[in-house]
Structures are given as structure tokens and as C-alpha cells.
């Protein structure tokens, strides 16, 4: 036999304390010097498997071998000592510390009893040079772009002597250009003898960067194969277990009257940061206006200001001519606005309340739900039954707490409530994030149907493919401004949008004027 694989995870089972079986007999091997893609839908168990490899979670059952030898990691420190480093899906950085301070955190170079700052800067610059990962050693992390933060995370693992790097969905927060930069860095790392495990659910990236690919579904491995021999279709089928139709049938838009008119909207956060500046756009009846952009460029604030969850600092936003800025969320809703919030667990649902209750939170104070001083439970019950059926919510009944549903069905509860409110304007923020393909398809179809029925839709999504396929018109947000408007979505490529999302290109106000 040839030499043993670098990593061999055998028969890994992980049952979380809440009973979720996240890994169910997983077998996973990595060869030295390869780029190994690990793909699967959200919830497939990829992160769990990697946390086990990194010593953050202990497996319920199973064995890990490193270069043929069994190892037991009790904490990440053990894994680090064995040359394993992990870059987490959500960055693990200290925002107020500098890049150099973050890189050496926990293993600071010392001079006498103090931290040797000069040495930390030196180390950072040398590592940065050696691996071609460009960072500003003295910049405060809070002020550097996402792409650089990611390079800081990678350098952090390299400083700790990582030979095997686990990158958990590193491209989720990157623009196409930043992704390319990351890929170059990964190739450089491999050229210097490192091994990389790359998690993603974007199949195009798998094809582009990896040598081998392992597909996971439902906590199991569906197969491992050389990337060169795999087609995207084949991988997609392995991921979801059936043929997928991710394109939405969309009749041409017939835009009508302006419904939402946003003018010179500015928002300054409590901490004094300008999150929105001079934002202006119009959404008409019967069209979907998409907002593309890297997350954190003001999209969240835009939605929250428009829905009354935050006070605006200046400007105006009118729904059918009526001002909605700085109104209460209820006033905003009563003017015909529905809202699918980005943070569905905190803002979209009351988790311990039942489905029926969640379906009336925006209307319980009106007849027929309110009769005299009391809520008519009979009406609430019937209302629940109707919506559960119409929106295909998979639940044992309307009386179960929402917390017991899967992510996709939770989102359907929100969609059912918001769509049944018969809004003139629907604001949908990340409507399909982190939910299964079936529910995604359903929600996308519903969105298009609503728009074809004459509702104005403002769609905010970090999923570029989603905004591009659903929107009739598109704007790009960068650092709190609208930096580009695209009246015909099929005339623009993902790469071009990427340039706008990165702030490398922008249109002048004159160019945009006509379309906003």
C-alpha cells in the first residue's frame, strides 16, 4: 500500500445535545498538498465535521488519524499543535485590535514582561510577504475591508504553524474579484506545501479551485471524486438528491405607478458612523428592484430605516406619497408595507409562540381577529389553517411553537404572514438565506407571483445569483451609497457587478438620475 492519507476521519458521528444528528457515519480523507473542496447545502454538516477535526467539538463516535496515527483533540490547541488551522465562517477577530495584534493574539512575542509590538509588526510583515497575503499590519481591523480580514485570519493560522488549513465558506462574504484574489493566495499556499480544505456551496468555485471534492448531504458523505471527473450537474444532484431548477420562470415586468420613493436618505448610527448617504431610488408597482452589494454596506440599515425599526437622520421615503420615515413600525405597516426581515429569528418570529400566533402579530388588533376586548381564537385558528395550507408550511399543526420548525418552514411562516397582508410594497431582506432548496424555490416563485400581481418589491440579497435572477432592475450599494443602477439585469455580468460591489467602479449621479 502507498503512504497513508494526511487526514483520515473514520465513521464520524456527531449528535448535538439537542438531538440533531449533524454527522452520521462520515468518512473523509485528505491527501497531502491537495485542495479539497467540501460541499453541501446549508445544514449538511460540513462545519460540524470541520469543528471536530479542529478540536472544537468532540465526536460522539469515530476516529481521526493524522498521517496514519490516531489522534484525539481535546481543544483547538491540540489541533493547532498538530498543524491544523481553521478560518471560521464568521470571523474570529478583535475589531479594536490592529491586524498585527490579532495575528499574534494568544502567542504574543514578549520583551521582558510586555508585549513586543515591534516584533508583532515584524512578524506580520514577514508572514504577509512570504505567503503573498497583503495586509496592513498597523491598521485597526474594524477599519479594513472584509477581504483583508480574511487574509488576517489565514495569516493567524500560519503564524501558529498551520500545515493544513480549513477555510469554512470563505467566499460567502467576498465579491467575485476578492474571490479570485483568495484563490490565488490558496494556490500560493499549496505551492509552498500546505494542504487546504475549502468549504463552499458554490459549485463553480469547486470546479475552479479544487483537486478533489467531497459532497455531503444530511450529515452523510454522498461521495468523494476528483474534480476533473465531476460535472456541476452531477455535483448538484448529489448535493440535493434530485434535479434542481434554480432558474425562476418570470413573465416580463409591467411597471406601474411609483410606490416607494426614497430621496436623499441619510442614516448615522448611534456610534456616529454614516451608514447611509444620500440614497435615492424608486420602486414601482409590479416590479422587483434588487439591491446587490457585499453585506455590511448599509443594506441592513436601509431596510431597518424604511420599516421604522431605526430613526433616519435625514431625507424622505414616501409610500404612495405618504411619508414613512420615523414612523412606528405599525404605522409603516398600516401604510401598506410588508417586511420579510433579514434576522428572522429575532425580528421575524416569536419563537416560543405558536404558528397561529405568529401569523397574526401584525393584525391581531383588528377585526375579525379582535372582537371587543378579546381575540377570537376560532378566527385565529381558521386563519392559521388556511395559511399553513396555502404556503405549504410543513408542521403538525398551527398550535406548535415556531421554534420546533426547520429553517425553511420558519421562513414560510413569515412569508405567509407578510404576503397575506396584501401589501402594496414588500421589502424582502435575504428571503432565502440558509434555507433548503425546496423552500427557496417556493419563496422565489411566490415573490415573482406577487410582483406580477402588481406589488412593488424591494429585494435585498447577498446572493448575487438570486438578485440577478429575480430582479427587474438592480442597484448596487457600496459604503452606504447607491453606486450603480442597472435597468436591464440581463445586460450586466456578475463580474461587472462585482466591480461596483467592491467600489472599484461607480456611476455618476447624472448617469443614474434617469433610472432612480
Amino acid at each position: 500500500m502507498s503512504s497513508p492519507p494526511l487526514i483520515e476521519m473514520r465513521d464520524i458521528v456527531k449528535v448535538y445535545p439537542n438531538g440533531v444528528v449533524a454527522n452520521d457515519g462520515v468518512h473523509f480523507t485528505v491527501e497531502p498538498g491537495e485542495i479539497h473542496a467540501l460541499v453541501g447545502e446549508n445544514g449538511a454538516g460540513k462545519t460540524t465535521l470541520m469543528k471536530i477535526l479542529y478540536g472544537l467539538e468532540s465526536p460522539t463516535q469515530g476516529e481521526i488519524r493524522l498521517r496514519g496515527r490516531p489522534v484525539h483533540f481535546r481543544s483547538p490547541l491540540d489541533a493547532i499543535a498538530h498543524g491544523i488551522g481553521m478560518v471560521h465562517q464568521n470571523f474570529m477577530l478583535i475589531p479594536s485590535f490592529t491586524v498585527a495584534e490579532n495575528i499574534v493574539l494568544g502567542q504574543e512575542p514578549r520583551h521582558r514582561m510586555l508585549v513586543d509590538r515591534e516584533a508583532a509588526l515584524q512578524i506580520t510583515r514577514e508572514l504577509s510577504q512570504q505567503y503573498g497575503l497583503r495586509v496592513e499590519a498597523e491598521a485597526v481591523v474594524d477599519s479594513v475591508p472584509v477581504g483583508m480580514r480574511q487574509r488576517v485570519e489565514i495569516l493567524k493560522t500560519l503564524y501558529r504553524g498551520a500545515e493544513i488549513l480549513i477555510l469554512d465558506e470563505p467566499t460567502a462574504v467576498l465579491t467575485p474579484q476578492e474571490t479570485q484574489e483568495l484563490f490565488q493566495a490558496i494556490r500560493a499556499l499549496v505551492a509552498q506545501g500546505k494542504t487546504v480544505i475549502f468549504i463552499t456551496h458554490k459549485l463553480r468555485e469547486v470546479k475552479e479551485i479544487s483537486d478533489r471534492v467531497t459532497v455531503m448531504r444530511n450529515g452523510r458523505v454522498m461521495g468523494t471524486l476528483p474534480t476533473a471527473q465531476a460535472t456541476t450537474d452531477q455535483l448538484a444532484r448529489m448535493m440535493v438528491g434530485r434535479d434542481v431548477l434554480l432558474t425562476v420562470e418570470k413573465p416580463p415586468a409591467q411597471p406601474g405607478e411609483p410606490v416607494l420613493e426614497v430621496r436623499d436618505l441619510t442614516y448615522v448610527s448611534e456610534t456616529g458612523r454614516t451608514m447611509l448617504r444620500d440614497v435615492r431610488f424608486t420602486v414601482r408597482a409590479g416590479e422587483i428592484l434588487g439591491v446587490a452589494g457585499v453585506e455590511g454596506n448599509g443594506q441592513t440599515e436601509l431596510v431597518e430605516v424604511l420599516t421604522g425599526l431605526r430613526p433616519a437622520t435625514g431625507g424622505s421615503a414616501r409610500v404612495r406619497g405618504r411619508e414613512i420615515l420615523n414612523a412606528t413600525p405599525r404605522q409603516v405597516r398600516l401604510s401598506g408595507v410588508a417586511h420579510i426581515p433579514e434576522d428572522r429569528l429575532n425580528n421575524g418570529l416569536a419563537l416560543t409562540a405558536t404558528i397561529n400566533e405568529n401569523l397574526i402579530v401584525d393584525r391581531y388588533f383588528r377585526p375579525p381577529f379582535l372582537r371587543g376586548l378579546f381575540i377570537d381564537s376560532q378566527v385565529v385558528q381558521e386563519h392559521g389553517v388556511r395559511l399553513i395550507q396555502a404556503f405549504d408550511i410543513r408542521a403538525p399543526g398551527g398550535d406548535v411553537p415556531v421554534a420546533s420548525l426547520s429553517g425553511g418552514n420558519m421562513q414560510k411562516v413569515i412569508v405567509a404572514r407578510e404576503f397575506s397582508a396584501e401589501p402594496v410594497l414588500l421589502i424582502a431582506a435575504q428571503p432565502t438565506r440558509g434555507i433548503d432548496v425546496g423552500a427557496t424555490e417556493f419563496i422565489r416563485r411566490q415573490l415573482v407571483e406577487k410582483r406580477s400581481g402588481g406589488t412593488a418589491v424591494l429585494l435585498i440579497s447577498a446572493d448575487l445569483a438570486e438578485v440577478m435572477s429575480l430582479s427587474d432592475r438592480l442597484v448596487v450599494m457600496y459604503e452606504g451609497q447607491i453606486t450603480g443602477v442597472f435597468p436591464q439585469v440581463d445586460r450586466v455580468s456578475e463580474e461587472e457587478l462585482g466591480l461596483y460591489m467592491l467600489g472599484l467602479r461607480r456611476q455618476t449621479p447624472e448617469e443614474m438620475e434617469a433610472y432612480l
Binding site: 481553521m86 485590535f97 454614516t274 437622520t313 449621479p509
Partner: protein, 326 residues
């Protein structure tokens, strides 16, 4: 007495010296509270810890007839008392605010109970022969007019308070442990992911805050006064918390804010000689705290709005709002 006399009092070296003296039991707990606050474990039990230390110091020094044993015992018991907070919050997962409130109540009741048991008096320990720490007379400087009055002849806790401000600043920003402490306070998950033991660091932070608050308590009963009094901290532990926020959660800011509150307190003492109801005068330090916090927050909001306005003006002035990439 006349206003004129009061004013003359304020603009005297003695008054400045009294500000330093009165600030001492605010600076010390504030520095301690800063440490635990930056570590993400706000210590609202500063008040109770001060009381416990003040009481212990007096009792032990009275029974051993040794001031230093009293100080050591006060520091030890006060710090241990603070570690109860760590035990409840970090290990038994109680809410830190509730646990802090419980400790404060326990300290206030407990010290009076023990005081009564030991002396038969619920008000003060005047009947115990407890000691006070020595004053430090700085040679030469002591005889310089004005400066000598201001800077020399204080109890050691006063010098310690200012010295510790420097030590705490160096500790927080230059040492590995201080760095870990701030990292833990800002993003515990990230700190844990590089192998920093979050619970250990937070325990140390609470212990250090207890140590510094104990010094503050001892400065009240073994320097500022020479006996223990029922509830002698009189809210200083809470004013110290206010000083941390007013000071922008930095050592220098906290020191400055604590001295400001000390100034307000000293002012109240001066006005004490006027013919106004004493309740009004005693309100000064607390009112100053509330006003200072309000002003601070209003100013912050105003600045934010101002910045937004300027930003918008700039954009309009440029005409090309979207010109020039960053």
C-alpha cells in the same frame, strides 16, 4: 458664613489637596471596575466589596493592633468576596447584575450584623481601637508653599491611587494578560479560538477589580476616617461605575472622571458651611454624576448628527456626490 469665604476656600491649596484625598476612594474602585468591564464582566458589586474590605481592615487592625495586618486582611477578604461574583456568574451561570446586587445587599447587611455582634453598636466601630495607615511626608517638597500642601502629607492610598492608574494602563495595554483581557471582553469566541481561557481571564479580572475596590474601601476606613461606619461607602462604588463610562472606558479618562466626582464631593464639603439645608449640599456629587452622564450622552448624539450634516453638505457642495473612490 458668606459665599466669599466659601470661594476663598475653593481657591486654596487645602481645597486642591482635599480633592485628591476625596477622589482616592473613587479612583481605586473605578480602576478596578474598568478592568472587569473591559473583560466583559461588569462588576456592580464594587460598593459591597469596598464595605467588606473597609470593615475587615478595621476589625483586624483593632484586634491585632497592627495596621498592616488589617490592610492585608481587608485586601484578602475583599478580593475573596469579589470572587463570589466570579463563582456565581462564571461557574454557576447566574446573571452578573443580579449576583452583583445580591453581593451588595449581603455586604451592607453582613457588615452591620458583624459590627453589632462585635461592638454592640450598629452605627460605627468607634469603640474599637483600629489604626490608620501613615501619612507620607515627602521631604523637601513638603516645605514648598502651595505645592507642599497639595502634594505632600496624604495617606499612602492617595499616592497609590494615582500610581495604580499608570500601572493599570500599562497592564491593560502592554502586557499579554491585559491584552487577552481586552480581547475576551470584546469577542470571547475569538479569544477562545486562539486558546485563551476565557473563564480564567474573566476570573482574574473580577479578582483584580475586587483587589482595587478593597483598596478603595480601606482608604475610607483606615485613612480618610479612622473607623468603620454603617454604609460608609455611600454609593461610591456606583459613582465609580459612572466614572468608567464617563471616562470612555480608558484608564486616563476614568481617572479624570473620578477626580471630577471627587471635586464635586469636595465642593459639597465647602458649601457645608453655608446656611443651606445639608441635604441639598450632600446631593452635589450625585447630581454632578447624573448631569455629567447626561451631558456626555447628549454631546455624543449631537456630534453624530453634526457629522451627518457636514457629510451631507460636503456631498452637495461637491456636486458629484459619487466622485472619487476611497
Amino acid at each position: 458664613m458668606s459665599i466669599g469665604l466659601v470661594l476663598r476656600g475653593i481657591f486654596s491649596a487645602l481645597f486642591v489637596a482635599s480633592v485628591l484625598r476625596i477622589s482616592t476612594p473613587l479612583i481605586l474602585p473605578a480602576l478596578g471596575g474598568l478592568i472587569s468591564d473591559l473583560a466583559g464582566v461588569i462588576n456592580i458589586a464594587l460598593e459591597g466589596i469596598m464595605l467588606v474590605a473597609a470593615f475587615t481592615g478595621v476589625v483586624v487592625s483593632a484586634y491585632t493592633q497592627n495596621v498592616w495586618l488589617g490592610v492585608l486582611a481587608g485586601l484578602a477578604v475583599g478580593t475573596l468576596f469579589s470572587l463570589i461574583l466570579a463563582l456565581f456568574h462564571l461557574y454557576l451561570k447566574t446573571d452578573i447584575i443580579l449576583a452583583g446586587i445580591a453581593l451588595n445587599i449581603m455586604a451592607q447587611g453582613g457588615t452591620v450584623f458583624l459590627l453589632f455582634t462585635l461592638t454592640g453598636d450598629k452605627g460605627s466601630s468607634a469603640s474599637l481601637a483600629s489604626g490608620t495607615v501613615p501619612r507620607v511626608v515627602i521631604p523637601l517638597l513638603h516645605d514648598v508653599p502651595v505645592l507642599g500642601t497639595i502634594l505632600s502629607g496624604h495617606h499612602i492610598f492617595t499616592y497609590l491611587a494615582f500610581l495604580l492608574a499608570v500601572v493599570v494602563a500599562v497592564f491593560l495595554y502592554r502586557t499579554p494578560l491585559g491584552t487577552h483581557l481586552r480581547a475576551v471582553g470584546e469577542n470571547p469566541e475569538a479569544a477562545a479560538s486562539v486558546g485563551i481561557n476565557v473563564v480564567r481571564v474573566q476570573t482574574i479580572a473580577i479578582g483584580l477589580s475586587g483587589l482595587l475596590a478593597s483598596l478603595g474601601g480601606l482608604s475610607l476606613s483606615m485613612a480618610y476616617l479612622s473607623f468603620f461606619q454603617n454604609n460608609m461607602t455611600a454609593g461610591r462604588g456606583f459613582i465609580a461605575l459612572a466614572a468608567i463610562f464617563l471616562g470612555g472606558r480608558t484608564p486616563w479618562g476614568t481617572l479624570l472622571a473620578a477626580v471630577f466626582f471627587g471635586f464635586a464631593d469636595a465642593l459639597a464639603n465647602q458649601f457645608g458651611s453655608l446656611q443651606v439645608p445639608p441635604q441639598w449640599v450632600q446631593m452635589i456629587p450625585y447630581a454632578a454624576t447624573v448631569i455629567a452622564l447626561v451631558v456626555y450622552n447628549v454631546r455624543r448624539r449631537r456630534q453624530a448628527i453634526e457629522r451627518a450634516r457636514r457629510m451631507q453638505e460636503q456631498l452637495h457642495a461637491q456636486g458629484t456626490a459619487f466622485g472619487g473612490g476611497d
